[in-house]
C-alpha cells in the first residue's frame, strides 16, 4: 500500500471513531450548556445503548441491527428522561459539583445493573450482511461499516444542528444556554425542556453505542472507556458548544489514530496533553464563549461545618475515645487478623486520603477530580525509594510525601488559575496523563507495577521477645498507619485553626471579597493544594506498603471518584466528616460484598440518595433528624431550598 492510501486509511479510521465521539460529546456538551450538568453517566448511556441494541437485535433475528438502531436509542432516551426527572432535577440551583457527584453515583449503579442483566462476558454484535465487507472507492478498499458509521454520524449531527437552529425547541434551548433566567422572565418554562435535552443526549449516546458495537466487543467497561475521551472532546471544543463537539470529536478521533501509528510512545498521552494545553491557554475551548454562559444558578458548596450538632468538648472526647479503641483493637483476643490488618488499616489509609481532599475541597472550594494523582504518585515514590534509595520505610514515606507535594505544586501552579468546572477538568486530565504515562515507564513497572520489595524493619511482624511473639498477628505497621493518620488529622486541624485556615474558608465563601481584602487568593489556594497533595501522597505510600507493591490501579480515576464519595458521604469542610465517610463507605462495602456482587451499585444508590437528600453528609444527619436547623440560615433542612445568592439593586 502506498503512503497516500495508508494516510487515507488512517484518516478514515480516525473519522470513524471520531464520529462516535461526536455522538457522545454532542449530548454531553448541550446538556452542560443548557443545564450546567456535567454528566459522568453519559458513558453508561452509551454502554446501555450497545447492550439494549444487542438484546433487541438478538430478539428480532435477521435485520435486527436496524431495529436495534431505532429501538435502543428510544429506550435509552426514556431511561435518560427518568434519570433527569428523578435524580438530576432535585439538584438544579446547587453548585454544578453536585451533579458531578450524583452522576458518578449513577455510573456505579448503571455498571452493576448492566452486569446484573448481561453479565461480565463480552459479546459480539453481528453486523448486518448489508454492511459487511469492503467497498472500493477511488481505487481504495475500505470497510463498508466504517463508511456507514461516518455517514450516520454526519447525518445525525446535521439533524441535531438543524433542530437546534431551525426549530422552536432548538431556539429556546439555545437561549436557555445563554441566559436561563431571562428565558423564564419571558414566560417560558425552561425546566420542561431539560428533560427533553437530557433524553435527547442519552439517545445520541445510545446511537453511538449501537454503532460502535458493530465494530468492537460489547463489554461492561465500554462506558468507562469512552467517557474520558468524550470529556476531552467537550473541553477541546468548548463546554456547551455543539459546533465544538463536532469539530473536537473528529479532531480527537483523527489525532488518536495518528498518534497510535506514528508516535506509539505518546499513545494515550497526547490527548491529555492537548486537553491540558487547551484548558491552560483557552479554557473556554475552541468554540466556547465564556461570556455566553449563564452561571446564574451556581449555588454554594454545602459544607457540613455549620450543620454540626455536637459541641467541641464532646467531639474531642469521641475522638480521643475512638483513637483509644483503635489503639487497643489489635490486642483484642479473638478478632481475626484480617479485620485488623486489612480492613481497619484500609479504612485508616482512605480516611487520610479523604482528609487530604477535604483540605482543598471542603475548605478552599477546589474540587479536584484528579486527587488520585497525588495518592498514586506518593505510592510509586515510596515504593521506588524503598527499592532503590534506602531500606527505611520512614524515609521512603517522607520521599513519597515530598514528591507528591512537588507534583501538587506543579499541577496547582498550572491549574489553579482556571476556576470552577475547568479546574476540576484539568485535575482530571493531569491524573489521566500520569495514569497513561505509567504504562509506558519500564522503571515504574509498566502495566505490572512494582511488587516484591522487602518488608522493612520487620514491620509486619508483631513485637517479640527472642523467638516468642507477644501478640499473634499484630503488626507494627498498624501503629505506624494509626499514628500517621491521627498526626495528619491533628496537623490539618491546627492549620485550619490558624489564620491560614481562616483565609482558605473565606476564599471558599467568596473568592472575590477575600481578594478585595488584600489576600492573594491564588497563593493561598496553591499552598493548600501542596499540603493536600503531600497528605494524599502519604496515604498512597502507606497503601503501597500495605498492598506490598504498587500498580497503575493506584492512579485509576475511579479512586478519585471513590474518595470524593467518601468526602461528601461524611460531610466536607469538617476534616473528621470525610474520615468518617471513608469508614462508613468501606464497612458498607465489606458488608455488601458478603451479600451481593452488585455492591458498587448499592453503594452508588446510597450515595445518590445522600447527594439529593443529605448533601452535607453523615455529620449533618443528627441535626437534620432532630429538625433543629429549621431556622438557621444555610443549615439543616433548608439545604434543599433554592437560595438566591445574587444581590441586586
Amino acid at each position: 500500500m502506498s503512503a497516500a492510501t495508508t494516510l487515507l486509511e488512517q484518516v478514515l479510521n480516525g473519522l470513524t471513531i471520531g464520529m462516535v465521539y461526536v455522538l457522545l460529546a454532542a449530548g454531553l456538551s448541550i446538556i452542560f450548556g443548557v443545564m450546567d450538568v456535567i454528566n459522568f453517566a453519559h458513558g453508561e448511556f452509551f454502554a446501555l445503548g450497545a447492550y439494549v441494541g444487542l438484546s433487541v437485535a438478538l430478539a428480532t433475528g435477521s435485520g435486527g441491527f436496524w431495529v436495534a438502531l431505532l429501538v435502543a436509542p428510544l429506550l435509552v432516551g426514556l431511561v435518560g428522561a427518568g434519570v433527569e426527572r428523578f435524580t438530576i432535577r432535585p439538584l438544579y440551583g446547587r453548585n454544578p459539583l453536585y451533579h458531578i457527584l450524583l452522576t458518578f453515583g449513577l455510573v456505579l449503579i448503571f455498571k452493576d445493573v448492566i452486569t446484573l442483566i448481561w453479565g461480565q462476558q463480552p459479546y459480539q454484535f453481528a453486523k448486518p450482511p448489508l454492511l459487511s465487507g469492503t467497498v472500493t472507492l477511488f481505487g481504495f478498499d475500505y470497510a463498508l461499516y466504517s463508511y456507514f458509521v461516518i455517514g450516520i454520524g454526519a447525518l445525525i449531527a446535521l439533524g441535531t444542528w438543524l433542530a437546534l437552529t431551525r426549530t422552536r425547541y432548538g431556539l429556546v434551548i439555545r437561549a436557555g444556554s445563554m441566559d436561563r433566567d431571562m428565558v423564564r422572565y419571558l414566560g417560558i418554562d425552561i425546566d420542561r425542556y431539560y428533560t427533553i435535552v437530557f433524553a435527547f443526549g442519552a439517545m445520541l449516546a445510545a446511537v453511538g453505542g449501537v454503532v460502535l458495537a458493530g465494530r468492537q466487543n460489547v463489554a461492561p467497561g465500554m462506558g468507562n472507556a469512552v467517557i474520558i475521551p468524550a470529556f476531552i472532546v467537550v473541553v477541546l471544543g468548548g463546554l456547551g458548544s455543539f459546533r465544538g463537539a463536532v469539530v473536537g470529536g473528529l479532531l480527537i478521533g483523527v489525532i488518536q489514530t495518528f498518534v497510535r501509528s506514528q508516535f506509539p510512545f505518546l499513545e494515550g498521552l497526547a490527548v491529555f496533553l492537548l486537553m491540558i494545553a487547551v484548558l491552560l491557554l483557552r479554557p473556554q475551548g475552541l468554540f466556547g464563549n465564556p461570556e455566553w454562559g449563564t452561571g446564574g444558578e451556581g449555588g454554594d458548596l454545602l459544607t457540613a461545618g455549620d450543620a454540626d450538632v455536637f459541641d467541641s468538648a464532646l467531639k474531642r472526647r469521641i475522638g480521643v475515645g475512638l483513637v483509644g479503641v483503635l489503639a487497643v483493637t489489635p490486642l483484642l483476643i479473638g478478632l481475626p487478623s484480617y479485620y485488623v490488618n486489612t480492613l481497619v488499616v484500609n479504612i485508616l489509609i482512605w480516611a487520610l486520603f479523604a482528609l487530604s481532599l477535604d483540605f482543598v475541597m471542603g475548605y478552599a472550594g477546589l474540587v479536584s477530580l484528579g486527587h488520585v494523582l497525588f495518592y498514586g504518585v506518593g505510592a510509586y515514590a515510596t515504593v521506588l525509594a524503598v527499592m532503590h534509595l534506602v531500606p527505611s520505610l520512614f524515609v521512603a514515606l517522607a520521599v513519597g510525601i515530598a514528591v507528591s507535594a512537588v507534583i501538587a505544586w506543579v499541577v496547582g501552579y498550572l491549574s489553579i488559575r482556571v476556576s470552577g468546572v475547568y479546574f476540576s477538568m484539568i485535575t482530571l486530565a493531569f491524573a489521566e496523563l500520569f495514569f497513561s504515562a505509567v504504562f509506558k515507564l519500564e522503571w515504574a513497572g509498566s502495566s505490572d507495577g512494582l511488587f516484591g520489595f522487602d518488608p522493612v524493619y520487620g514491620l509486619f511482624a508483631g513485637p517479640s521477645v527472642g523467638s516468642i511473639e507477644l501478640v499473634g498477628g499484630v503488626s507494627v505497621f498498624y501503629y505506624v498507619v494509626l499514628a500517621a493518620v491521627v498526626g495528619s488529622y491533628l496537623l490539618a486541624r491546627q492549620v485550619m485553626r490558624a489564620p491560614f485556615g481562616s483565609v482558605l474558608q473565606a476564599i471558599r465563601e467568596s473568592e472575590l471579597r477575600t481578594g478585595f481584602i488584600g489576600y492573594d487568593v491564588t497563593v493561598y489556594k496553591r499552598r493548600a493544594f501542596v499540603v493536600s497533595g503531600g497528605l494524599a501522597g502519604l496515604a498512597g505510600g502507606l497503601a503501597a506498603v500495605q498492598t506490598g507493591g504498587v500498580s497503575p490501579e493506584f492512579l485509576a480515576w475511579i479512586r478519585s471518584g471513590e474518595v470524593i464519595v467518601m468526602t461528601i458521604l461524611g460531610g466536607m469542610g469538617t476534616l473528621y466528616g470525610p474520615m468518617l465517610g471513608a469508614g462508613v463507605y468501606l464497612v458498607s462495602k465489606e458488608l455488601l460484598l458478603g451479600i451481593t456482587e452488585q455492591w458498587q451499585g448499592v453503594l452508588g444508590l446510597i450515595f445518590v440518595l445522600f447527594v439529593i437528600f443529605v448533601p452535607r453528609g453523615l455529620v449533618s444527619l443528627p441535626g437534620l433528624l432532630a429538625g433543629r436547623f429549621d431556622r438557621s440560615p444555610g443549615g439543616g433542612t433548608d439545604v434543599l431550598a433554592e437560595e438566591e445568592t445574587e444581590v441586586t439593586d
Binding site: 422572565y185 441586586t648 439593586d649
Partner: protein, 241 residues
C-alpha cells in the same frame, strides 16, 4: 372587577435575599394606562421591587395583586403569562442569537394579550433593528440592545411593562429616543412601571412618581409636586433639578 381598580397593587411587601432584607413594607399602586416612575438612590430596593412584582423574588410578607388577583409567590413564568413584561437591567439580550431570534424567543413565551406585537411589526417600528435583523445580540450597540430588549418584551406581550433602568449607559441622543419610545408604548395602551436613575427622564415620562428610600416608599405624587419640593429631592435623591 372595575377599571377603576389599580392594575398593580403592592401592599406592605417585605422581601430580600437570604438574611439581607431589602424591602421593608413597600406599598404602591399602578393604574391602568399610567406611567409610574420608581426612583431613589442606589441600593434602596428599586430592582428588588420589580423582581418581586415579577415573582423572581418571593416576599416574606405583604401581597402583590395584579389585575385584581393575588399573584404573590406565583413565580416569574406564571406572572409573565398573565401579562407582566420585563425589560431587565443591563438588557439581557441573548448574546449569541440574532435580532430575529431574540424576538422569536419572546414570541414563544409571554401572554396572549391584545397588546402582543408581531416580530415583523417591531422590526418595522424600530427601523434600526430592522436593518440589523441578522446581527447577533452581542454585536449590537447599547442603544440597539435596549431597543431589542423592549421589542422582545412587546413581542412577548405585556399589559404592564416593567422597565429597569432603560437609559443606563446610553448616549444622550439615544436616551431621548428610548424615552420617546417608552412614551409611544404607553400611549398605545401599555401600562408602564419604570425604574430610573436619571431623574430628569423619569419625571418627563411619569404621570406619578414614587421615591424609595431604604426599602420604604417615602414620597408619592405627580412630577410637578416633586419638583416643587426641594427638601424631598435633597434628602432622598441628593439631587436638585
Amino acid at each position: 372587577m372595575s377599571d377603576g381598580d389599580p392594575l398593580l397593587r403592592l401592599d406592605g411587601v417585605r422581601a430580600g435575599y437570604g438574611e439581607t432584607q431589602v424591602l421593608d413594607g413597600v406599598s404602591l399602586d399602578v393604574n391602568r394606562g399610567e406611567t409610574v416612575a420608581l426612583i431613589g438612590r442606589n441600593g434602596v430596593g428599586k430592582t428588588t421591587t420589580l423582581r418581586t412584582i415579577l415573582g423572581a423574588v418571593t416576599p416574606t410578607a405583604g401581597t402583590v395583586r395584579y389585575d385584581g388577583e393575588d399573584v404573590t409567590g406565583l413565580g416569574p413564568i406564571e406572572t409573565v403569562r398573565r401579562g407582566v413584561g420585563l425589560v431587565p437591567e443591563e438588557r439581557r439580550v441573548f448574546p449569541g442569537l440574532t435580532v430575529e431570534e431574540n424576538l422569536a424567543v419572546g414570541r414563544y413565551g409571554g401572554s396572549e394579550t391584545a397588546n402582543r406585537r408581531d416580530p415583523e411589526e417591531v422590526l418595522e417600528t424600530f427601523e434600526n433593528l430592522g436593518r440589523r435583523r441578522r446581527s447577533r445580540g452581542t454585536d449590537l450597540s447599547g442603544g440597539e440592545q435596549q431597543m431589542l430588549a423592549i421589542g422582545r418584551a412587546l413581542v412577548a406581550g405585556a399589559d404592564l411593562l416593567l422597565l429597569d433602568e432603560p437609559t443606563e449607559g446610553l448616549a444622550p441622543l439615544i436616551v431621548d429616543r428610548v424615552s420617546e419610545l417608552i412614551r409611544e408604548i404607553n400611549e398605545e395602551g401599555i401600562t408602564v412601571l419604570l425604574v430610573e436613575q436619571n431623574v430628569a427622564v423619569a419625571l418627563s415620562l411619569a404621570d406619578r412618581v414614587y421615591i424609595l428610600d431604604r426599602g420604604r416608599v417615602v414620597f408619592e405624587g405627580a412630577p410637578a409636586e416633586l419638583e416643587a419640593n426641594e427638601s424631598v429631592m435633597e434628602r432622598h435623591l441628593g439631587v436638585t433639578v
